[in-house]
Amino acid sequence: MPLSRPPTSSTEGPEPNPRELDVRPLLKAGQEPFEVIMAAVDALAPGQSLRLVASFRPVPLFSVMARRGYAAADHALGDGDWEVLFSPHAEVRTDEALAVGSSPAAAAWADPIEALDLRELDPPEPMIRILEALEDLQPGDVLFALLAREPVFLFPELTTRAHEWAGNFEAQGGTYRLLVRRGGSPRE
């Protein structure tokens, strides 16, 4: 893992038991579970997790939940069913770890499937390469890039395109490390 994970500190005090939500009956009945899931999330106590069971792997839900401050851990139950534990991640101290604007959910992202070394390129070439590479990825895929500078003008464009990112300078300060998680829908 090239980018150091943001430091997370365990929440103090005992954590409430996870809330269970099985949306398989809803899906079987042909109903929309999204509102039910969101209502369940709204009803969570501070620090409480949500254990969701569904008849598919709800990948797009991961980024929705990440934006609300929940990390996802999933495993297959067999027969195409999946169980996902959405747990609130402790507040990331962005001032010492990640650049302002970084996604607090980065610690829970999958490992990058593509790595780019863009340190030798003149701006805005690194920005172009990253945006081009993202177009070929699937939602949820993560890209890693090394840059010579903090790509301040890339960040608004990533936000506009519904991608999430997290970045920081390595300890020596010479290289900027960036993780970008492809958001939204795949391009046709």
Binding site: Q31, F56, R57, V59, S185
Partner: protein
């Protein structure tokens, strides 16, 4: 909330600023103001304030409105106020020029225009300062850039307060202040706060960011930037103390001014040394036009900062001091601003026109928006005019000075035309120009942001990604 990539009115700030620079240069070419009249004469003050408020401060404000949100990754605070700020400052500046025209005997309008101008200009820049401070918040002060801007804005407030006081005295509306001999003794401190504090220190802070960004250099060690900021802050405290002493009816003496000038010059020289280092350790091999032209600006800063303190301290003639101040204002501040405008305008236009298409369609390179070598010729003309103008002022050749400024005016006008062409994508290969209805507008804000093709997930159908 998506972060706005563009400050909506930055291009308008730049356009108004360039127009006012051309206006001030036109007056100088016509022989109005110093050296034809005294430095403190109303005619000279018209030109000085058009350059310092109309050109440099508005260009700096437009750049800060653009860069502060990007550098702290936060949306601009009170963004809808950007246009009212610009209008208020421009109306205030017009009233100020009108007020000076009464003092110069050009018109017989009322002198009460002066305090009104002071209040309008102060109101405009105060709101601007609140927008920038509100955007940065505590986070901005973590970065050296934010600290330079904060000290610059504090100096701006002090310069505005003293300027407004002068305006009230000119109008005969502040006899109690006039008795404190704020005028003319206070003007040197007012100038130090406005030029050195607001424009100078803010330019140092912006310079550190832009030079490192455009040269692909690592930032200088924080310790060195902190030393520059500390010297600058000491200078501005001294200038502020000088003003306060005058207000209290005390004589601050020449030592306070010498301390302020000396500390500012030291800050400038330390900053100049850092900039030279940024050029030396850069990763980028070829220098773009903005960074080539900036070498001239940094050279002007070095020469001006090295020679001005001894000139002031050893009582050099007014001609020499005026020449050195001209070199700093036109060579360094104006030269730097003109050079970086080329880059900022072309890059922002490129982002605006093509940002949403990157990765999806072929887009031109940023450099393709700028017409070379024409742009380089206009910048060279500006710097040639500065060198000739500095020498003409130093030897008191008023006629040659007007010719020199004519070269600067030609450079300004040429660059303005090039920037309009950049905004209109005139020099981009036709096949890469967006359709007419999607083109960038020269002055107006970008059109409403394009919609992403990623709508929020609301249905099971969208949630289900099983192959």
């Amino acid at each position: 909330m998506p972060l706005a990539a563009h400050s909506h009115w930055t291009m308008t700030f730049f356009a108004v600023a360039l127009t006012l620079l051309a206006g001030a240069e036109g007056l100088m070419v016509a022989g109005i103001g110093y050296p034809a009249t005294d430095l403190a004469a109303p005619e000279s003050l018209v030109v000085v304030h058009l350059v310092v408020i109309g050109w440099l401060s508005l260009a700096m404000s437009g750049a800060l409105l653009q860069f502060v949100p990007v550098l702290v990754s936060r949306p601009l605070a009170f963004a809808p106020l950007a246009l009212p700020v610009l209008v208020t400052i421009v109306v205030g500046l017009a009233a100020l020029v009108a007020g000076f025209s009464v003092l110069a005997g050009w018109t017989d309008w009322t002198l009460d225009l002066m305090p009104v101008a002071g209040l309008l200009i102060t109101a405009g820049f105060t709101v601007l300062a609140l927008m920038l401070a509100g955007t940065m918040g505590g986070a901005g002060l973590v970065q050296p850039f934010g600290r330079f801007v904060a000290v610059g804005l504090a100096s701006l407030m002090a310069a505005l307060a003293s300027g407004t006081a002068f305006a009230a005295i000119f109008a005969g509306r502040a006899d109690w202040l006039a008795a404190a001999s704020l005028l003319p003794e206070g003007t040197r401190f007012h100038a130090l706060l406005g030029l050195g504090g607001w424009l100078g220190l803010t330019a140092f802070g912006v310079g550190y960011r832009l030079f490192a960004m455009f040269l692909l250099s690592p930032d200088p060690p924080r310790r060195r930037m902190a030393a520059v900021l500390a010297c600058g802050a000491i200078a501005l405290l001294a200038a502020g103390a000088g003003l306060a002493a005058l207000g209290a009816g005390l004589d601050p003496g020449d030592l306070v001014e010498a301390a302020a000038v000396g500390a500012l010059a030291l800050a400038a020289l330390l900053h100049g040394r850092d900039v030279v280092m940024l050029y030396r350790v850069r990763h980028r091999k070829g220098l773009e036009i903005n960074m080539r032209a900036s070498i001239g600006a940094v050279a002007a800063l070095g020469i001006g900062a090295a020679l001005l303190p001894p000139a002031v301290l050893f009582g050099a003639s007014e001609r020499v001091v005026a020449a050195l101040v001209f070199l700093l204002v036109f060579g360094w501040l104006s030269g730097l601003t003109l050079a970086q405008l080329v880059k900022i305008v072309s890059f922002m236009t490129w982002l605006e026109a093509y940002g949403g298409q990157i990765g999806r369609r072929r887009v031109p390179q940023v450099g393709a928006l700028v017409a070379m070598p024409r742009t380089a010729i206009w910048l060279a003309l500006h710097f040639a005019g500065v060198v000739a103008g500095t020498l003409a002022l130093a030897i008191g050749a008023a006629g040659s000075f007007r010719l020199a400024i004519l070269a600067c005016l030609a450079g300004t006008a040429g660059l303005a035309v090039e920037l309009v062409r950049v905004r209109r994508l005139c020099d981009v290969e036709p096949s890469l120009r967006p359709p007419v209805d999607a083109r960038t507008r020269i002055l107006l804000p970008p059109r409403p942001p394009r919609r992403t093709d990623d709508a929020p997930i609301t249905t099971t159908h969208q949630l289900d990604r099983r192959p």
